[in-house]
C-alpha cells in the first residue's frame, strides 16, 4: 500500500492531540474546589464500577445495554490493538485477527446505534450525537479493511490509490471523533470524563449497591456560601457534569419537566458544562427548559451562574425527587448541584421565591414552617395521653411526630399510628415541645444555616434520653434523621435505629403483635414517596404490609424506584414555580390508569398533594390509617363494650 507512513502518523497525531486535550480538560475540572478523593482506590475500583454499577443501570434498557457493550467494548479493545498493530507495527496474525473480531463487534454495535438514531426519541440530544454512529461505522469499517491484509486475507495493495484516499478520510474522521472528540468536547467526551467520574465520584458509597442520599453540609464560615460560579463546585462535581452522555433518561422521568416547569435535568448539566468551559448554550441540541429558548444562556467559570446562564426558576422547579439521579447511567448528582446553587441564592442573595422567605423566617422564629406557637406542638394529642420523654427519660421507641402535628389532615395519620402503637403495647414516648422541625424544608430551600441550627438542637434534645429507635410517619424527617443528622451528631446515631412507620409497623405485623382483619374495599394502589423509596430504599415494607391485609396491589407503571413524585418535595409547593400542569395531577392520572379506588401512601406530604387534586378521584389514605381501620380491638375490651351496650 502506498503512503505506508500515513496511517501510523494519523494515529500518533490523534493520540497526541487527544493527550493535549485531556490536559486542558483536566485543568477545567481542577478549577473547582478541593475535595479529597482516594485516587488509587478509585482508579482500581473504576472497571468494577463501570461493569457493575453503571452497566446495571444501562441494563434497564436491554437494547441499549447490548448495543453499548458491543460498541464500547469493541472500541476499547480495537483501540488497544490498533495501537499495537498499526502504530507500533507489531506483526502478528493473531493480533490482526483479534483486531478484526473486535472491529466487527464494534461495527455491529454501531449499526444498532445507527438504527436507533434513525428515529430518535425526543429525550436524546441531536446535533453532534447524530454524527456519532457514522463516525463509529467509519472508524470500525476503515480499520477493518486496513487490517485485512495483515490478517493475510487480502493481498497487499489491493485497490490502490483511490481506496487509500477513501480509507484515510474514514480513518481521519473516525480518529478525530473517537480520540480528539474524547478530550476536546465531542460526544465521546463521556468515555474519558465518565471513566474518571466513576473513579473519583463524590459519593463512592453509591457503588456496589450502596446508597448515599444525604446532602453534604455547608461550612458556614466560608467566603461565599453555596455555589455562585462554576468554580465553586467541587472539582469532582465539575468532572461529573462532563460525564453526561445526554441520553435524556433524566429528562424522561423529571416531574418538573413533564409539568412544563422550566427545568430539564439534562440541559441543566449541559449548562454546567457551558459554565465550566465558558461560552454559550447555542450548540446544545436537546430539549430546552420548557418555555425557554436555547441559545440565550452564557456562562464562564468565574461568572455568576444565575446571572445569564441559568434562570433561578429552573433551580426552584426541582422537587429533589432524585428520579434523575436514580435514572442516570453515569451516576451524575443533579440534586446536589441544584441544592448547591440554591444555597447561594438563599444564603447569599436572599432570593428564595414566593413563600420561601416567610417559611424560613418562621422556621427561625418558631421552629416550624407555618409560624405556629412552639408550645402548641402537642395540642393535637391533647386526648391521646402520650408519654413524654421528658418524664420517662428512657423508652424503647421515640415517636418522631414531625410538623404534621400542626396540620389537621396529618393529625389523622398521627392518631392512627398512635392507636396502632398502643394496640401493639409498644413502649414509646414523644419529645413533645422539645421536638423541632427536622430542617428538611430549610435544607432543600438552600438554608443550610437554619437546617444545621435545627438539627443541632434536635440532636441536643434527643441526646438527653435513652432509647433504641426513632420511628416517624414523615419520610422527610426520616431522611434527615437517618442520613443527614449524623454529620452533626457526634456518634449519637451509631446506636440508634431510625425507622419509617411502615417499616416498623411491618415488623409488628410480621411478629404478630397487631391483630388485623382483612381489608374490605376496592382496588388499592401504592404510591412510593421519594424520600422513603429512592432516598432510603424502602419499597418492600409498605407493600408487605398491604399484602398482609389481603390487598393485591394494583401497581402503577411508575412505581418502586421509578415512582413519580407527588410534587411536594424540595420545598416545591413553597417556591411554587408555574408550569403548564400540576405534578400531583399527573400522578393522579398514573393512579387512575390502574383503576384503583384507594391510594395507599406513606407520607403526609404526598397525602396533602394527592388530596389536593380535584374530585372525582380515588381516596388517599396513609398506610397507618388503613391499618388502624382494620385493627381488631382487644377481645376483653370488646366484651366490656358489648356488656355496656346491653346494659343501656
Amino acid at each position: 500500500m502506498t503512503f505506508e507512513w500515513l496511517h501510523p502518523f494519523l494515529i500518533a497525531t490523534a493520540l497526541l492531540l487527544a493527550a493535549v486535550g485531556a490536559v486542558r480538560r483536566v485543568n477545567l475540572w481542577r478549577a473547582g474546589q478541593p475535595e479529597s478523593v482516594d485516587f488509587v482506590a478509585g482508579l482500581m475500583a473504576m472497571p468494577g464500577r463501570y461493569l457493575h454499577d453503571l452497566h446495571d443501570i444501562v441494563e434497564r434498557d436491554k437494547y441499549m445495554s447490548k448495543t453499548h457493550a458491543a460498541t464500547g467494548g469493541g472500541f476499547v479493545l480495537s483501540l488497544l490493538l490498533v495501537i499495537l498493530v498499526h502504530l507500533f507495527g507489531v506483526q502478528s496474525q493473531i493480533l490482526a485477527w483479534a483486531l478484526l473480531a473486535s472491529l466487527a463487534l464494534m461495527f455491529i454495535g454501531a449499526v444498532f446505534v445507527f438504527k436507533r438514531r434513525l428515529n430518535p426519541p425526543s429525550r436524546l440530544s441531536k446535533g453532534p450525537w447524530m454524527r456519532l454512529p457514522k463516525s463509529l461505522l467509519a472508524f470500525s469499517s476503515a480499520f477493518f479493511i486496513l487490517t485485512l491484509p495483515m490478517a493475510g486475507v487480502l493481498p497487499e495493495v489491493a485497490g490502490g490509490l483511490l481506496l487509500t484516499i477513501v480509507l484515510s478520510i474514514f480513518i481521519a474522521m473516525g480518529l478525530s471523533e473517537m480520540l480528539l472528540g474524547m478530550t476536546w468536547g465531542g460526544p465521546m467526551k463521556h468515555a474519558f470524563a465518565g471513566a474518571l467520574h466513576l473513579a473519583f465520584h463524590r459519593r463512592p458509597e453509591r457503588f456496589g449497591g450502596g446508597r448515599s442520599t444525604g446532602l453534604k453540609p455547608v461550612a458556614l464560615d466560608q467566603r461565599v456560601l453555596g455555589v455562585q460560579k462554576p468554580e465553586d463546585f467541587k472539582w469532582n462535581q465539575l468532572l461529573g457534569f462532563d460525564a453526561c452522555v445526554q441520553c435524556g433518561k433524566c429528562e424522561a422521568v423529571c416531574p418538573a419537566f413533564a409539568a412544563g416547569q422550566p427545568l430539564n435535568p439534562k440541559k441543566l448539566i449541559q449548562d454546567m458544562v457551558v459554565g465550566m468551559a465558558g461560552g454559550s448554550d447555542a450548540r446544545y441540541a436537546g430539549s430546552p427548559y420548557p418555555g425557554k429558548e436555547v441559545g440565550q444562556a452564557n456562562g464562564g467559570p468565574l461568572l455568576t451562574i444565575t446571572e445569564g446562564l441559568i434562570d433561578p426558576d429552573t433551580l426552584w422547579s426541582c422537587t429533589t425527587c432524585r428520579a434523575c439521579v436514580e435514572e442516570c447511567p453515569m451516576m451524575i448528582e443533579h440534586v446536589d448541584a441544584i441544592v448547591d446553587m440554591r444555597r447561594f441564592l438563599t444564603m447569599e442573595t436572599g432570593s428564595t421565591p414566593n413563600k420561601g422567605a416567610q417559611v424560613l423566617d418562621n422556621l427561625i422564629a418558631t421552629d416550624n414552617p407555618n409560624g405556629n406557637a412552639p408550645a402548641s406542638r402537642t395540642n393535637w394529642a391533647a386526648d391521646q395521653n402520650l408519654p413524654l420523654l421528658r418524664d420517662l427519660k428512657e423508652t424503647d421507641v421515640v415517636f418522631w411526630v414531625s410538623d404534621g402535628a400542626f396540620d389537621m389532615r396529618s393529625q389523622r395519620i398521627l392518631r392512627a399510628f398512635v392507636s396502632l402503637l398502643k394496640a401493639a403495647n409498644v413502649d414509646f414516648a414523644v419529645l413533645g415541645d422539645e421536638e423541632l422541625d427536622s430542617g428538611d424544608v430549610a435544607r432543600r430551600l438552600g438554608d443550610d444555616a437554619t437546617f444545621q441550627s435545627l438539627a443541632k438542637r434536635n440532636i441536643a434534645a434527643l441526646s438527653q434520653y435513652k432509647f433504641k429507635r426513632i420511628v416517624t410517619t414523615d419520610p422527610h424527617a426520616y431522611h434527615c434523621l437517618r442520613n443527614e443528622y449524623a454529620d452533626f451528631a457526634d456518634g449519637l446515631f451509631d446506636n440508634i435505629e431510625v425507622l419509617h412507620h411502615t417499616t416498623y409497623l411491618n415488623e409488628l405485623v410480621q411478629a404478630g403483635k397487631l391483630k388485623l382483619s382483612r381489608f374490605k374495599g376496592g382496588k388499592v394502589t401504592y404510591h412510593d414517596p421519594c424520600y422513603l423509596g429512592r432516598y432510603n430504599g424502602e419499597y418492600e415494607a409498605p407493600r408487605e404490609l398491604l399484602r398482609s391485609l389481603g390487598i393485591e396491589i394494583a401497581e402503577m407503571e411508575r412505581s418502586g424506584f421509578r415512582s413519580r413524585c407527588c410534587g411536594g418535595g424540595g420545598g416545591a409547593p413553597i417556591t411554587d414555580i408555574p408550569g403548564e400542569r400540576r405534578i400531583a395531577d399527573m400522578r393522579m392520572e398514573d393512579v387512575q390508569t390502574t383503576g384503583a379506588e384507594l391510594i395507599a401512601v406513606g407520607c403526609q406530604q404526598c397525602t396533602a398533594m394527592l388530596e389536593g387534586v380535584v374530585e372525582p378521584r380515588p381516596q388517599v389514605k396513609d398506610i397507618a390509617e388503613i391499618l388502624a381501620g382494620v385493627l381488631l380491638e382487644d377481645e376483653a375490651e370488646n366484651n366490656v363494650e358489648s356488656q355496656l351496650e346491653e346494659a343501656f
Binding site: 458556614l220 461565599v224 456560601l225 438563599t346 444564603m347 447569599e348 442573595t349 436572599g350 432570593s351 428564595t352 420561601g356 422567605a357 424560613l360 423566617d361 427561625i364 422564629a365 418558631t366 421552629d367 409560624g371 405556629n372 406557637a373 412552639p374 438554608d447 444555616a449 437554619t450
Partner: protein
Amino acid sequence: MLLDANTSMDLKIVSLISVGKHPTSGRARRAEQDGRAVELGLSVAEAGRGKQNLTVLHAGDSQQSALRSYAGMGLESVRVIQLRESADAVSPLTEYLRKHAPDIILTGVRAESGESSGMVPYLLAEKLGWPVVPRIANIVSIKEGVAEVLQALPRGQRRALTVRLPFIASVDNAAAEPRQSAFGPASRALIEQQQASSDADAVRSEWSELPARKRPKRLKVVKAKTAADRFKAATAKPQGSGGKVLKDEPVTEQAQAIFDLLLEEGVLR
C-alpha cells in the same frame, strides 16, 4: 422612584431599628415595621447613589443577634449606640442624629416589645425640631429638597403629602415588605459599636411587663341585606354617622361634647 439627581447624590438616610419580638414564640427577631423602614431606606438609597447613603442605627445591645437579621438584607454594617438595658434611647439618638444631620429618618410606627409607645419619632422630632410624617407607605420622589410621600390611611387609602427635608417618618405596615434576610451577609456584616451614656429611663423602670391581651372589640352588626351592601360595608370608607364636627365652638363646648360621648359609650361612669 423619582429622584432628583442633585439631591439624591448627597441624600443621607438613617433607618432606626429595634429588636422585635415574634408574636407566637416571643423570640427576638427583625421587627416587621422597622424592617420596612430599612427596606424603604434601601430602596431610596439604591435609587440614588447606593447603599452607603443609608445608615441603619440601633440604640441598645450590640450583642443582640436579631440585629444580624437586619444586616442580612444586604447591609455592610449596622451601627449600634451601646446602651444599658435600662437606658433611655432618645437622648443618645438625638445626639447622634444632630451630629450626623441626615436628610431622612425612618422608623417603625411602634416597637414590638418594651414600651411600644411609638413615641420615639415624635420625641426625636421635638428635640431636633423636624417635622414628623406618621405612617408612610412610600417615598414617591425627592426633588430640590422636597419629598413627596404617600401616607397610609385605613382600607388601602393613601394621602399624598409633600414635606421639606429633613424630616422623620414612621413607616406603616402598608409599605413594601422587607426583603429576605440572607445568612451570609448577616453573619459577615460589621456591627459598628459606639459608646454613649444615657440616663436611666425613669418611667419605664417603674413599669412591670405583662403579655399583651387582645383589646375587646366592639361587636360589628352588619345590617346589610344584599351582597352589594356587604361589599360596601367591607370596603368603603366608613362614613361617620351620628358624630359632630366641632371646629369653631368654644373649648368648653367641645370638651362637654367629648365628655358626653364618653358617658354615652360607658367609658366614664
